[in-house]
Each structure stands twice: as structure tokens, then as C-alpha cells.
Amino acid sequence: MGDFRDKLRAVIDGKGETHIERKRHRMVFLATVGTALLLIVFVMMLCIGPTAILDPIDALSNLFSAIGKDGSAMTDKEVMVFSSRFPRAVAAIAVGLGLSIAGTSYQAVIRNPLVDPYIMGVSSGAGTFAIAVIAFNFTFFGLISSHSIYLIAIAAIIGGLLAFGLTMVLAHRADATTNAYVLSGVVIGLVFGAVQTLMIVFSGNKVSDVLLWLFGSFANITWDKALFILIPVIVMSVLLFRYAKELNLILLGENQARQMGLDVKKFNAIVLVLASVMTAFCVAFCGIIGFVGLVVPHLCRMLFGGDHRLVLPASLALGGVLMMLADLVARMIIPGTELPVGAITTMIGVPVFAYLLIKRGKIYNG
């Protein structure tokens, strides 16, 4: 496997003479291969589904004819490709890259490789509020129509950001060190987790709906929902990309980064807020999909090195591709039954993570 990685590296690096040339090569490789993979898997997402498997030309021609029709009088096939599979693929890409970029950013700022996007309590806060809606028709005291497709999503975002806010307040009341963030996140997560458990116990016949949301799924994604996820994820990602160099700098420790001209407190706060808002949007419709935000950053570091100017774009591509593949598996592996995608990512993620831990653990500890 080490051999394989070296060979892959040689391809990725090209014939670069200097470090900078090699990094530029890696970037070009990432841009081309990443885009190609995203496109290929995206087309696979349009072709493959439980109702029918189309060949790529068929799928694409249905897609383009549907786009031409502007939504009216579509054939069944066009509806399937354009209104069901397409937004679903978009949502999978958005959530995959969002969770991966959030995970990468969190890991750098907290400088702990075990950190995932849910470390700051976002998932438990989101889960608690989402369950309140699903099981008890919580409508924010009538503020949001109980028929709105956004009700669960908005509840999840509010809950996620509430938990994140509480984590930040607690961490800052402590000493705002990276340990304080992790510990506060764990504590807040436990509190919301307990409320969540209580609600599940009393959720009666809604319990399966609740569990379905919690495990995460891209079923029932429409165009509106896909865009509702995609747009904020793109905005947050672009903003985080601008901090790539600073994410490298912070790896030297807060004192060194501060000494080299970075306003560390402000930087930490900005990155954590951006990553948490992004995570909240990722879980809003699709529930809590585990392991992607933990494993993808490590895979990217293994392939492209620790420089965030490469890790961030790599997370974007790999996160998007892997999430689409996981969704394909989730809807195809057992005919007639759609598995929660979170279960698939966990089943793939655990062995990959164990492998990384064994092979690469040394790199993270002294």
C-alpha cells in the first residue's frame, strides 16, 4: 500500500522540479481528475436507480429534453431524471463536500485528528429540534406553517446553531483553548443527546420517522431542498477556502500563528462559525451522516499532503464523489429497500478510519 501511494504521488506530482511546481501539479491534477470524477459519478447517479437503469446517453438526453421543457408536460423518464435523481445527486455532492470541508477546517483549528463536523454539538442540537418537529409537531409556537417542507430543516438549523452557540459560550467562559472547545462540544452534545433520547422514548408511532431522519438519507430530495443546501454550502466553502494559508499556519500552534501576524481569536471564531453553519445546512434535510467529515480529510491529507491549499479542494472533490457513491449503494444494494445513507458511510468509514489510524497515527502524535 505504501508503494501504491508513492506511485500515485509520482503521478500526482508530475515532473515538478521545485516544491512549488509540484504543488501546482497537484492542484492541476486535482482540478482535472476531481472534476472528471465528479462528472462521471454524477452521471452514474442520473443513470442508476431502483426504478430503472438507463444508459448514460439516454439519461442525459432525457435530462436535456426536460430542461428544454421548462417543467411542463414531462414524460415519466424525464421526471425521474430531472426532478428526482438530479436534485438528489446535487444534494449528495453538497452534503459530501460540505461535511468534508467543515471536517478539514475543524481538525486544523482544533488540531485534533479525531474531530469531525459534529464535534461542536451541531448534530445533537439539530437532531433534538428535528425530532421535536417530527414526533411532536413542534412549529416554533406557530411561527412556521406545519405544512412547510422547510419546517424540519429550519428546526434542525436553528437547533444546530443553538447548540454550537452554547458550545462557543461555554468554551469562551473556560479559556477558549482547543481543549475547551472539544470538551464544551462534548458536554453540550450530551445534554441535547439526553433530551433527544427522552423524545424518542415518547415518540410512539413516529419512532421510525425519527430514526430515518437521524441516520440520514437523500430520499425525498427535491430541487428546492437541493438548492437550499447547495447555495449556503458553496458560500461557506468559498469563504473557508480564503483561509487555506492560515489553516496551515495555525498548525504551528496558536502562539506561533499569533507571532506571525494572525489574529488567532478572530480567526478561530470565523472558521468555527463558517464550518458550523455549513454543517447545520448539511444535516437540515438529510440528517446526520457520519464518518464522511472525519475520514475524507484524512484521506486527502494522505494523498495530497498536509497543505490546506490542496486539502480543501481535495476534500471538496472526494467528499462529493464518495457521498454520491454511498447514496448509490444505499439505494441499490437491497432491491426494493432504501437503506439510510448514514449506515453505509459508517460501514465504509470505520474500516478506512481504522486503517488510517494504524498507518498514519504516528504522523499526528509526537
Binding site: 512549488i20 499556519l249 504551528l252 506571525m260 501576524g261 499532503g305 504522523i363 499526528y364 509526537g366
Partner: protein, 272 residues
Amino acid sequence: MDEVPLLEVRHLDKVYENGYHADRDISFSIPSGKLVGLIGPNGCGKTTMMRCINKMHMPTSGDILIDGESVMPKTPAEVARLVSNVPAEMTASFGLTVFETVMLGRYPYLQNMWWETEEDESIVVDTLKKFGVYHLQDRALNMLSSGEQQRVLIAKAYVQNPRLMLVDEPTSHLDMKYKLDVMEYLRAMIKQDMTILVAEHDISLMARYCDLCIIMKKGQLIAIGEPKKVITEELIREVYEVEASVGFDRDGEIYVLPKRYKGPPEDEVPLE
């Protein structure tokens, strides 16, 4: 001295938030192109003073001037181009290589560029060679020995191209050979336009390598001057409350041999 000193510390006072008075009315100045040793017992305020010099901490009162200009109104990035610092130890490198770590020393010069320039790269390569870590350039920082890590951290501070480099206890967990090694590298780095201020407990080592010594005790400046003039048995007794012999070896190098703790205050009965 007619020319403007490289570093001037004026009546520096630092009182921490908890009321602890770590530095008291410290004033001195040092010229360009010197290796300056900062010596004093644990907790006497050496690190605190260094942190005030590069604005990591705000002094409670007093001023720090570099080339005659106060650092107080300068932005962190401006200070980073004047003063670099070598930490006593390093946190996890998270897969950053030695090359990438040293390259981060160029961060204050990057401005809005995405990649570093070829010029940055050649500065880093030259420095890696100069510090004998070129062959380690693709290794992860935390896979190196402490001695190698220390060299990498010094290299990083060096490519920052500062006027003043602050080095805090660089040899604290190094063996004899690496201690000399670090001091040799610091010595070799001194250029006409750069001064290094190094805090260190090994007085003999400091006396041998430094052009100037600054002696501190309980937050105050006790002495500043050439090592051979400043380091005496009386001074060691006053500063450390330790009996020591200060002598010269065959090559005329000064050495300090601690003998015993001065013992309990005079009014208590000594054991002998």
C-alpha cells in the same frame, strides 16, 4: 553609542491580570549583529519580556523600540517581519513536512498570493541546507528527533528574515552535542543586520557563545555586558543563591561550576 540600537527596551513593566508583577522597570539596549544571552532563574520574567518584545503581550508600561521605532503602533504582520521567535517546543504538525513548516516562515511576506514564489522556495532551500536538515525536507516534523526539530524551528524563524530573533530555551531537552550544535547554528546565523536574543539556563554555554549577557532576577535587570566581565562568583551568588566557582579553562573559555545551594538563611543553624 551614536548609532541607533537594534533593540531598545525602555522602562518595561509587565503586571499580569492576576496581579503578578513579572517584569519591573527593565531598560537596556543592544546593537545589531550580536548574539545576546538572557540568563536568570526560572520564573524571573525572561519569557514574559520576550513576549512583550514581539507584542504577544502588551506591556503594562514602558516601550519597546526596534531600530528606534516603537513596536506598539505596528500591526502584528509588521512586527512579524521584524521579530521572529523560536518556541521551546512544537505542537503536532498534522502531516506538514519539514519543508512546509519552514516555508510558513515566509507567511508574513505572502500578502494575498496563493502560492509562495520561486524566490521564497530558494530562500527555504538554502536555509534547510545551511541548517543541515535539507535531507529531512519531506519528513513530517513530529517524526524527527528533538535536536532535528529544534533546527527546523530555528530555520523557520530564520527565513522570516527578522531584525531580531527571540529564542526561548532552545536546548532545554537536548544532550551536550545538540546543545553545542544549536549554539553553533545560532552563532553562524548572526549577520550584520540581525541580532539573536536567547534565553538559556546553561551559563557556561552562554558565556562561551554570546557577545553580551543580560542577567535578570525577580523581574529586574541585574546586569548587562560582556560575559567575562559580568559573570562572577558574586553575581551567581546574588542571582541564584548558589555557591559556584567561575574559572577559565585552558583555552581561556569561562566556565561555571555550581557547588552547593547557599543553604538556609543565616539565623537558622546550619547542618555542619
